[in-house]
C-alpha cells in the first residue's frame, strides 16, 4: 500500500503517518516544512520497517506541485491512498485579519487540495482500490461567524468530496471526509480548546483514535466520519435548525470564547 499524506509534519498529519506506518504502509510525505519532514522520516524509520519518502512542497504554488509530480513520475511511484491534511486557519473576525491571510485560507484549504488531488488521482496504482481522504471539520456543518472563511472552506471540501465520491464510484475510488471537532495538534489548538471551556474539552477528540478510525473507515469505503457522539449530535442539530439561527448561536458562543482567549 502506497500512501501520500499532505501536511504530514503537522499534528494530525504526523499521527496519521504513524498510524499508516504501524500498518506497514509505505509513505510519501509532503509538507511545506522540510525540516519537520526530515525529523518525522527519521523518527518513523527508527520505529517501523516501512519505506518513507519525503519531499517538501508548497501546495499553493502550481510550479512547486509540478516539481513534486515530476519527482514522483521520475521514480515511478503510484498510490493507493491520498490523505489531504494540509490546511490552515487564522483566528479572528473577517475585518480584523489581513486580506492576504484570508485568501490564503482558500488558497491552501481548497485550491491546493484540488490541485494535489487531481494530480494524485491520475497517479493511482492501476486496477487497485484507491482511497481518497479529505480532512474537513465539524466547522463544515455550520456557517461560523468569526471563523467564516475557514468554516466555508471546510464546507467546500465536504460538498466537493460527497460529489466526487459519486463521480468516481465506478472507478474503484472511495472518498472519505473526516469532520473532527477539536484536535490537540499544536500549542495554539490546546489554548483554543481551553479557552472554550467545557464545550471545548467535550468536543475534543483523541488524535490517536481519530487517526486509527479514519484509516479503518477509508478502507471500508465510508463517506463521512464525524468523531465523537457529541459531535455527531451537534452536526445533526446543525442540519435541522435554520442556518441563520445556527449562525446567531455560534456567534454568541464564539464571541465569548474569543474574548477569553485574547485575554
Amino acid at each position: 500500500m502506497n500512501v501520500m499524506i499532505t501536511g504530514a509534519s503537522g499534528g494530525l498529519g504526523r499521527v496519521l503517518a504513524i498510524e499508516c506506518a504501524l500498518r506497514g504502509y509505505n509513505l510519501f510525505l509532503t509538507d511545506i516544512n522540510q525540516a519537520g519532514l526530515l525529523s518525522l522520516k527519521q523518527g518513523l524509520e527508527r520505529q517501523f520497517k516501512v519505506c518513507i519518502a519525503v519531499k517538501a512542497c508548497d501546495l499553493t504554488k502550481a510550479e512547486s506541485v509540478d516539481e513534486l509530480m515530476s519527482f514522483i513520475d521520475f521514480h515511478g511511484i503510484r498510490f493507493d491512498m491520498l490523505i489531504n491534511v494540509a490546511g490552515i486557519d487564522y483566528e479572528g473576525g473577517f475585518l480584523s485579519q489581513e486580506r492576504e491571510k484570508i485568501t490564503k485560507i482558500i488558497a491552501l484549504n481548497n485550491e491546493a487540495t484540488l490541485r494535489i488531488t487531481h494530480d494524485i488521482l491520475l497517479r493511482r496504482r492501476p486496477k487497485r482500490q484507491f482511497s481518497l481522504i479529505f480532512v474537513s471539520s465539524l466547522a463544515s456543518m455550520y456557517p461560523m461567524p468569526l471563523k467564516a472563511t475557514y468554516a466555508a472552506s471546510k464546507r467546500f471540501l465536504l460538498d466537493f468530496a460527497l460529489a466526487l465520491r459519486q463521480e468516481l464510484k465506478n472507478q474503484n475510488v472511495t472518498v472519505l471526509t473526516l469532520c473532527p471537532g477539536g484536535l490537540v495538534t499544536t500549542k495554539e489548538a490546546m489554548r483554543g480548546i481551553s479557552a472554550q471551556g467545557f464545550w471545548g474539552n467535550a468536543t475534543t477528540n483523541s488524535l490517536e483514535i481519530v487517526a486509527r478510525k479514519t484509516i479503518n473507515y477509508a478502507l471500508q469505503g465510508k463517506s463521512i466520519y464525524i468523531p465523537g457522539l457529541l459531535n455527531r449530535i451537534l452536526s445533526f442539530v446543525g442540519k435541522i435548525l435554520p442556518r441563520s439561527w445556527v449562525a446567531t448561536l455560534i456567534y454568541f458562543r464564539w464571541g465569548k470564547a474569543q474574548v477569553k482567549w485574547q485575554r
Binding site: 498510524e19 525529523s39 518525522l40 527519521q42 490546546m190 481551553s194 474539552n201 490517536e208
Partner: protein
C-alpha cells in the same frame, strides 16, 4: 571550576536547583522559553550577584533541539578548558492531557521525560566521565504500580495521561539503573530523586480539562520546590558517592520491583534505536 547542566531550569524544581547550585558551581541551565530563562537568570543574579549561571534555550521535546543544545554546551565546555562537567540533572518534564507527538512522531511525555535525558546524557557523557561526575534524574513516587507497556510504549492504542506519566517516571529509574550497570568502572554514578509532591506548574502547562483541574487542587498540598533542591546538591557533592539509586530527602528509598537489569537493558536498546545512538559503541571507543 565545576559545572552542572540542569534541564528545565527556568521554573519549578529545576530553577530552585539552579539557584542553590549557582552559589558554588557554574550552572548551565536549559529552558524552553527565552523570556523565562532571562527572568530566571535575572532573579538569581539579583539575589546573589556572584552566582555563576548561564542559560541555553531549547525545546527538549524535539530531538533536533536536544542535539543542537548539546552542540552548544560541548562548544562551551571545549572553549573553557578549566570547566569540568561534574553533573547533569535531567529534570525537564511535562504532562500532556492528550496524545501529542514530537517532530519525530514520538509521544511527548515519553520524548521529554525520558528520551531527551537519554540523548543529552549520551552527548555529554565523555565530559561527565572525564570529571567522574554524576547524572541525576527527577523521578517520582508515581513510578510505582506500573509496568512498562513494551508492546506500545507511546500508548498509541489508548492514551491515558497518568499512565504515560507514570511510565515515563519508571523509565527514569530504569535509565539510571542501566547507566550505572554500564558505567560501573568509570566512576560515574547515576541517581533518581523523588522530589515528593511539589508546588510547581507541571500539570498546568499545555494541559487542559481534568488534568489541569486536578493538578491545581493537588499542588496546594505540595512543598515549595526549595525543599527537594538540597537533595540534588547532596547527591552531587557527597563523598564517597552515595551507593543507592533512588533518593528522597537525603535518604535512600525503595523503588518498584520493575526496576531490573533486564528491563533496563530493554529500555536501553529501545531508546538507543529511537535516538539513533549506541552507548555500547561509545564505551568501547573510550
Amino acid at each position: 571550576m565545576k559545572a552542572i547542566v540542569i534541564t528545565g531550569a527556568s521554573s519549578g524544581i529545576g530553577f530552585e536547583i539552579a539557584r542553590l547550585l549557582s552559589r558554588n558551581h557554574l550552572v548551565m541551565g536549559i529552558g524552553r522559553n527565552k523570556t523565562n530563562c532571562e527572568k530566571a537568570e535575572e532573579l538569581i543574579l539579583s539575589e546573589n550577584p556572584d552566582a555563576r549561571i548561564v542559560y541555553f534555550v531549547a525545546d527538549l521535546i524535539q530531538q533536533h533541539e536536544v542535539n543542537r543544545v548539546a552542540d552548544e554546551i560541548i562548544a562551551y565546555l571545549e572553549s573553557n578548558k578549566n570547566i569540568q562537567l561534574h553533573g547533569l540533572i535531567n529534570n525537564a518534564g511535562c504532562v500532556r492531557s492528550w496524545y501529542t507527538t514530537s517532530d519525530e512522531g514520538y509521544e511527548q511525555q515519553f520524548a521529554l521525560n525520558h528520551l531527551a535525558g537519554f540523548l543529552l546524557t549520551y552527548r555529554l557523557l565523555p565530559f561527565i566521565i572525564k570529571a567522574k561526575g554524576r547524572v541525576i534524574m527527577t523521578g517520582s513516587q508515581s513510578h510505582k504500580g506500573i509496568k512498562m507497556h513494551w508492546s506500545d510504549v507511546m500508548l498509541r492504542k489508548r492514551y491515558n495521561p497518568l499512565t504515560a506519566y507514570k511510565q515515563s517516571k519508571l523509565c527514569n529509574i530504569l535509565f539510571a539503573k542501566g547507566l550505572d550497570d554500564r558505567l560501573e568502572d568509570t566512576g560515574v554514578k547515576s541517581y533518581v530523586v523523588d522530589p515528593g509532591l511539589v508546588k510547581t506548574d507541571i500539570g498546568n502547562k499545555q494541559t487542559g480539562g481534568l488534568v489541569n483541574l486536578i493538578w491545581s487542587i493537588r499542588k496546594k498540598h505540595g512543598v515549595s520546590p526549595e525543599v527537594p533542591a538540597s537533595t540534588y546538591e547532596f547527591l552531587l557533592e557527597k563523598h564517597p558517592a552515595p551507593p543507592g539509586l533512588y533518593y528522597c530527602l537525603f535518604k535512600e528509598k525503595a523503588y518498584s520491583r520493575q526496576v531490573t537489569s533486564e528491563n533496563a537493558d530493554k529500555l536501553f536498546s529501545l531508546s538507543q534505536k529511537l535516538c539513533g545512538i549506541s552507548y555500547d559503541r561509545r564505551e568501547k571507543r573510550l
